[in-house]
Symmetry: C2
């Protein structure tokens, strides 16, 4: 089948690794460059074992020697890096109203990047067709063949059954229910392994490989937008749970007497603290005449968003500040429980509502510090996403790179 699609047979074979080879490749990919000594120490293999494994990978052009590194006292060691030109991957971050894409080499270096509006309520064929067009434009500009694309990572704003790559009952994009995304790309990119995941998991992966989460074993990425979700990094890897739905923190109850959520329960965090309730509270304040800024904005637009509240707060509007602080307090209260349970080293806050910035962050921090145990917060950092709008697309590149090799 691979040959029928015109892929050189050895190209495919290159990507099948023995267990030890896979560990070496993963370690180099995570660090960027490593010496043989680094590898032996880090993986716990004998020096001779590492030497022969590395030799095999060099002969197959999966890794390359990139010149001497820093000396640790003796001769400067030869550093090893992945062979960036072994193949290419496409990263796709589909938001509710946006489409971000990138092309990268095997070292994760971004070669092309695009961003444009999109609507996930459209038919999947239309949206996926546009993704294909953009990817082909990337390739054309770089004179790369579609057969050289060996991985495609896709983040989508809905619940994904990771093993099949299918969306399951996605509230924002009902037409995508069980649509075979993986199959769609097969004709155009026959050599690519397609991996689909929830957007917030993809953002957490982005921070893990290329952001503030680099080198941190256990951390959480919280996305606050229309909904609220959480990507979980556990022992240096994404944790998806037993059914792939771990991190669904938006439906944790924070008030048994709270409002009804679209999920049918009452008092869900996202029904009380995400973008829509922030906007609703602002509209109410505007109608009551509590904020001139918000009242003018409402009169001009007919409706408010969390972004309006953020802009009002930036002008020093008291009511807007109060609404943002209240939302941060609720999110922080929920996170305090997760900190007690999960004891992470770091929590990163991303998503559209996080752009309200440090007022939200500071309210979240206060609530966590007040409610979590002393030991669990001693070395805990809570910060805004370091990659911002790039978290998703960078994460999609690294998600693809995680799966381009097959372990025998």
């Amino acid at each position: 089948m691979a040959l029928a699609h015109g892929i050189p047979e050895n190209h495919q074979r290159t990507l099948v690794l023995e267990q030890a080879e896979a560990e070496v490749v993963a370690a180099i990919r995570e660090a960027g460059t490593l010496s043989r000594t680094d590898l032996a120490r880090q993986l716990g293999y004998s020096r001779s074992n590492i030497t022969s494994t590395v030799q095999g990978l060099l002969e197959r052009h999966i890794i390359t020697e990139v010149g001497p590194g820093e000396s640790q006292g003796g001769r400067r060691p030869v550093m090893l890096s992945l062979n960036g030109k072994l193949g290419y991957v496409v990263g796709i971050d589909l938001g509710a109203t946006s489409l971000d894409m990138a092309l990268a080499d095997f070292n994760g270096h971004l070669l092309e990047r695009s961003s444009e509006p999109a609507d996930v309520r459209d038919a999947p064929e239309k949206v996926l067709g546009r993704m294909t067009e953009i990817a082909l434009e990337f390739l054309q500009r770089r004179r790369i063949q579609p057969e050289q694309v060996l991985g495609i990572g896709v983040g989508v704003p809905g619940p994904v059954q990771f093993s099949s790559g299918l969306l399951i009952a996605p509230p924002l994009m009902p037409r995508w229910e069980a649509f075979p995304i993986k199959d769609f790309f097969r004709d155009t990119f026959p050599a690519a392994r397609v991996v689909v995941d929830n957007d917030v998991n993809v953002m957490a992966i982005g921070e893990l490989y290329a952001g503030a989460g680099k080198g941190i074993d256990n951390f959480l990425f919280i996305k606050i937008g229309t909904g609220i979700g959480c990507g979980i990094i556990c022992k240096g890897q994404i944790y998806r749970g037993s059914d792939g739905c771990a991190g669904d923190v938006g439906h944790i109850c924070i008030d048994y007497n709270g409002p009804v959520c679209h999920c049918g329960n009452v008092g869900c965090l996202e029904a009380m603290a995400a973008g829509p309730p922030i906007a609703a509270r602002a509209e109410e304040a505007a109608r009551r005449g509590q904020s001139e800024f918000l009242a003018q904005r409402l009169a001009a637009k007919g409706a408010l968003t969390a972004k309006d509240v953020s802009e009002a707060a930036a002008t020093g509007d008291q009511v807007a500040n109060q609404i943002i602080k209240e939302s941060g307090r609720m999110i922080g209260g929920m996170l305090a429980g997760l900190v007690n349970f999960y004891n992470p080293r770091l929590i990163l806050i991303g998503g559209g509502v996080s752009k309200t910035g440090y007022k939200l962050l500071s309210a979240i921090r206060q609530a966590v510090l007040r409610r979590s145990t002393a030991l669990s917060t001693r070395d805990l950092h809570i910060d805004l996403s370091s990659l911002g709008d790039d978290a998703g697309v960078v994460g999609a590149i690294h998600l693809a790179l995680e799966y381009v090799f097959t372990v025998k």
Copy 2:
């Protein structure tokens, strides 16, 4: 130093393994017995790699061949097992008022078992001294030398900094603060590696290796007693978090207007649903004359415990049943949030209060099903601990066995 204590040098050397050897030993220990083919498939190593690794372990008497297993179509394969007689381990489960101990061989088979009252408010030297006496009695009965004890696993009812084995600000046992438990055993058991952990982590490990958690990647063990704690199994291993304090769910807030907890916060789960609040509610009901059973018990004893409430419920006492259900509802409400976040396959309920049995369990189940997302509960099981009173001591044996080998 090893020689100075009279330990045969090769005995110590035996316990140092290469990475691949450690993986083979861990896989065999988890499964009980495995063939070379099983090992190659499970670990992803080549057949020749496994053959040579196994040969080395056989020559050092770390594993043994235990005769043919089930045929998979061809010749019946030779099964491999750990060499049970390579050494022995002691498991210690210290509760607030009890001391459970066991002696086991390297296969985890229990050879001796004891249970007696204890008081953790006593000086550590006294309690640890008694543990040493019991362990020496075990050895004498089995004609085993103290030098043959290669591991000691200890579960304690307080927060442990896992790396050092020290208790940090333990509320139930203040005299143990930073007491060097590991050092205490060194004189009597010079060859033993001592591992100390929180009691609920140890119980989760017990269920993982020898109980209902066997073969389950992601599950939670909830202990409900004087406090409420949680042991987290993640991808088949205990998860302790970044500071070793993961699972401290007793101080998750379930009511912002709730009573003040001993930790200083308000509305903590354990201040509202653990043994003491159950007892307090029962005493109040008794004083108000709402339950004849509880009133009589209170008059006879002067105070009530959760056990009294459980016994009242067993006689059909309505008030006692209501108190238990209420506690289950609160615990289940908190667990619903953890199910959304962690998406475990199984939750096991243990600890003294869990002996109130199926009424508590059913209230917990109802609350979780009502409040968690559909996908996360589809294949979720919630059950009582399968090991019951043995979970801690069996877990302590397996905790010790996890650490008897050192990876080079």
